[in-house]
Symmetry: C3
Subunit: 348 residues, 3 copies
């Protein structure tokens, strides 16, 4: 599978990374250890230079990380600073590091050329530290390619079928197409549902105009907000986007990120919850219970799809009208990956 | 492994296929979804043309099956008849179907050239719907090649050893050879045990002449009946087959079928029970309990054998006198498979 | 991985091999059945010549072993002596045997040229049958190459880190180097710790001189004894080895053996306990509880290391001063294996 390397990948929820212990992650098949050298967040190759023991079984010692197999110790730049029983430390004793930072409650790791790591390219997610929203969060490990999860998130018509018993979106949702706009590093989806009575989980007695928009950004980050407005709002706005806080109900936000961990595996991170003026912890808990059910439905479908594909990987797909976003995004990935390959070739 | 394709493979016990939901099966490594379009039994490739989601996770809607990923709907001929959000349906939007039918309580699928699918080639099994027999039934999944299970069923001398503690056939059983006759699509086994006191499970106080015969038919279907007769019957008949209903005890029937599901895996279907004039539900239940134990013994042995073979697949076997049926059947498979290959080459 | 074949490999603890039933083992990827033909211990290929069923599912019948698939019977030389239903036994009906013997509580199997199998090459382990020691014993199965476990045992500096919470050896242990001496078929380690107060598990109120020595022998057998002496002993002896029974405390012995079972798997056998003049069953039980914990720490580390290596097997290691023994032993393995290859080529 082709993935862009010059991108910030979500490696962890920040609160899942302890202050004083390393954590293991795998991104694009590369084993990575995450740890905190005091304030500095460090991502290094999860492999000691000595005999390839995983540093994620190591011990944080202040601003350094000690391998707990034979005791070699490394600083935040990956340099070996101690070899027990030996005075000389060869300069080659150095572990590869990756640019890393914490932002919007996520730990991000840059998998491409370190010289191009630009904090401005971190997708503008909403973290559980954002005071405006009351967000739950979690993650799911997939036995499936990240690309298949991306494809799922790039075509919400599956809500009418995969989630017929959870989100409860009726078939009319899949019957219409969202507005799709290319972004420099992603795709924007926008959709007014006019005069709807809501989905199973959020039935309304009166008709509403329901707005839903999300950006799906490189490498695989979905940022979505939705809200309900009085009937007629969509028409009055000429179907352009509304103001968030003009909503009369249901203003909520979800950040989701898909990280390819290895060949045919991925980790799917997600948060969801209401704006603080439109809901509370109880509403968040209800939404998370629903998300657990619905995201399990996705996992069942996508892992089964992965197995079918693995039997005959060369079989062509047959895109439909709903695949416009899938196609645009995958083309963007191909283009960016090709540009990266050209840049590497030019540098060599 | 070589298997014949122009043959009816058992795909399921008919009562295990619900009226209103699809079921997944795999035959010769091909994923298949079984479903009922009203009265018509349908077998199709278990892969949506759109993005390869398995149709076995789909929903039966009258005479059509809907993919529950993005909602494409297919009729009993595999034609796509609905694509949500899109009016035009391309003629290429069609899923491969297989000839399929239900007979003798089994669902059969034809894996070869559909033009050659001939209902007359369905082996004449006895189903649990047969009023003359009181049959229990079940199946076992194997981590072993179907051919190894076929080989097991083609050489009953293993009863004296694998089943020493269950069927309880003594070593004298393996000490003599059955009469073996080639059939156009299989092998016939016949055997009189004269003056026997029966096996552990069916001890007799007086000596009996015990008759056992089975056909083992392409692609891997065993149809066996056995019964006990007064001593002297075998000799009086010149060791030719007896009349079923002349038996004085123990008339029973078993249908068994071995279906290769994938590389190194198989599903083994079986029924067993007495003729209604020679037993009742209680006897059937006792026989099924015994079968569960004995077929588990086969599974243990054959799966272990598979692992040994997998370590060195090229190592030659050393056939014995009891392998006559094994050899004849496997030669038949090779010949039929070669004829199929020639026919495909001639057609191309 | 390269392993020496002309060597005695530990196949089992002798008491784990029943008197009247075969047992399965795998050495260097070869399936082996162990059984007792009366007094004679037999190791044969675990594969019936007939259809490759494992003989370890067979039945001991006096001085022969019967395959319980179709009943072929073999003697202690691997010769088939019975084929049910068949009078003639072809001379090719013979299963490969391996030289095997029981010694020092272990069952040993010679994996190389049988003509070179020399009982004198059995490493001089201390068995649980030795009256001088009170030994517990066990084994652990590894999802890791035997070589990685050998490497672990060839560099005890890991005690300071892997076992920081169990054996409790402090970092000063890894800070100094043992004396290392090559042996014809192994490496000898010797080390005085002078004026030590012991490790966490064996704290002492007064300083002691602690002695530890082990031989690590082809193919992967560790034989170690350690004991404590009055302070000043090391210096008085010019740091040469002490007499065992001059110890004032803590005289104990451990035998350990690493057997490669297959690609990336191994079985690790171990015993440990006090000399009968320095401890009792209760002390042995305490030591075994500690060993269970500590050897589990090794397993966690080494299996994790194996996974990291498997991602990129060609990545070079970076040996340190503590790797002297690792390097010497692995060179010895390479040299012996190359000599074996030359001998085979010359014989061909």
């Amino acid at each position: 599978m082709t993935y862009v390397r010059n991108a910030w990948y979500v490696a962890a929820w920040e609160q899942d990374l302890p202050a004083d212990a390393p954590a293991a992650m795998s991104i694009l098949g590369e084993p990575i250890v995450l740890w905190r050298a005091g304030e500095k967040l460090v991502a290094m190759e999860d492999r000691c230079v000595h005999r390839h023991a995983p540093l994620s079984l190591g011990r944080c010692e202040g601003a350094s990380l000690r391998c707990m197999y034979h005791g070699l110790r490394f600083d935040a730049d990956g340099r070996c600073v101690e070899i027990p029983g030996q005075e000389l430390i060869p300069p080659t004793a150095r572990v590869k590091t990756y640019p890393a930072l914490a932002k919007h409650s996520w730990v991000w790791v840059w998998m491409g050329d370190p010289a191009l790591a630009d904090e401005a390219l971190v997708p503008p997610a909403v973290g559980y530290d954002d005071p405006d929203y009351i967000l739950g969060h979690g993650f799911l490990d997939y036995e499936a390619e990240a690309r298949l999860i991306n494809d799922n998130l790039l075509d919400f018509s599956h809500l009418s079928y995969v989630h017929a018993q959870s989100f409860g979106t009726g078939p009319e949702f899949a019957g219409s197409l969202p507005r799709i706009t290319p972004l420099p590093r992603g795709i924007r989806y926008e959709r007014w549902l006019e005069g709807t009575f809501g989905a199973a989980m959020r039935k309304s007695d009166v008709p509403l105009d329901s707005w839903q928009t999300y950006d799906f950004l490189i490498p695989g980050v979905l940022l979505m907000w939705s809200a309900n407005y009085p009937p007629g709002t969509a028409k009055a706005l000429g179907h352009s986007p509304p103001e968030k806080l003009d909503a009369i109900a249901g203003l909520n936000f979800t950040s989701q990120a898909v990280t390819p961990t290895g060949e045919g595996t991925a980790r799917y991170f997600f948060s969801w919850g209401p704006h603080c003026k439109y809901g509370d912890e109880a509403m968040r808990d209800g939404m998370m219970a629903l998300a657990d059910r619905a995201f399990g439905e996705d996992k069942t479908m996508i892992e089964a799809q992965q197995k079918v594909i693995a039997r005959d990987p060369e079989r062509p797909v047959m895109p439909t009208a709903h695949d416009k976003g899938v196609t645009l995004f995958n083309r963007l990935v191909q283009r960016l990956a090709a540009e990266e390959a050209e840049a590497r070739a030019a540098a060599a």
